[in-house]
Subunit: 152 residues, 2 copies
Amino acid sequence: MTKNSAPTQKISFKQLERAQCGDSISLNVCLASLKYNSDGLIPAIAQQHDSGEVLMMAWMNQAAIEETLRTGQVCYWSRSRQDYWRKGEKSGNWQTLKSMKIDCDGDTLLLSVDQQGPACHTARRHCFYLVVDNNKVAINDAPMVDPDSLYK
Amino acid sequence: MTKNSAPTQKISFKQLERAQCGDSISLNVCLASLKYNSDGLIPAIAQQHDSGEVLMMAWMNQAAIEETLRTGQVCYWSRSRQDYWRKGEKSGNWQTLKSMKIDCDGDTLLLSVDQQGPACHTARRHCFYLVVDNNKVAINDAPMVDPDSLYK
């Protein structure tokens, strides 16, 4: 916020489409301009930085984004608990931020992360363990550890 | 639908958490059980099958999912146009489905795809071309072709 608490300026993501590689805008202006949904949330995809594996998708509000950037530990907003969800706080399986990207129309985030242990609450490495196989959907991955041991 | 048009049975994704690798359920039951939002939509992440690059995130309804599986060409639901969005129909830059995965709580899809040319309407390969860099957000990628040539 500026000293006189004026609302943060906003931009249209449309304006950035023809910007040149290397051009930049203020982080505060960009975060204020994101297209949060009616609950004030934006989807964030977490991708393991070295393997490229897509681990999970969850939701953030602006404060969760700011905390994630400030601390370097990924913090989501839990829609089921209606509270901040500091990934790893209970399980010890932290998700460390490597970089954050924003998409062309400002309505999705892509987080490059270093995930310690399982990203999924089922103790699987990632959440996408159900795979469509013709007229069936099959379980495609096994837990890394006993799921009962995750949240003691 | 069954012959007497009974509603398709649904499952809770919670039930699948302890299923064994290789176990499966019916595709129809699974698609009917997905957690579509209040607009009947579910987010779908598209990842390039060989490079692992996350190309874009868009939304599907159940009919778009079924069409995508039937044709092997990715079909989203355009929230801005309120219509089916057959990726590549106007630009020629088709997105061919390699596999479809569903996450642990049935509210996100992960599509492994083969994207021809740019996935982004700005003519960039992917949509995540804005990268957070300290207190700035920088343009990180250039268009692959002249964006004006995409939708002739």
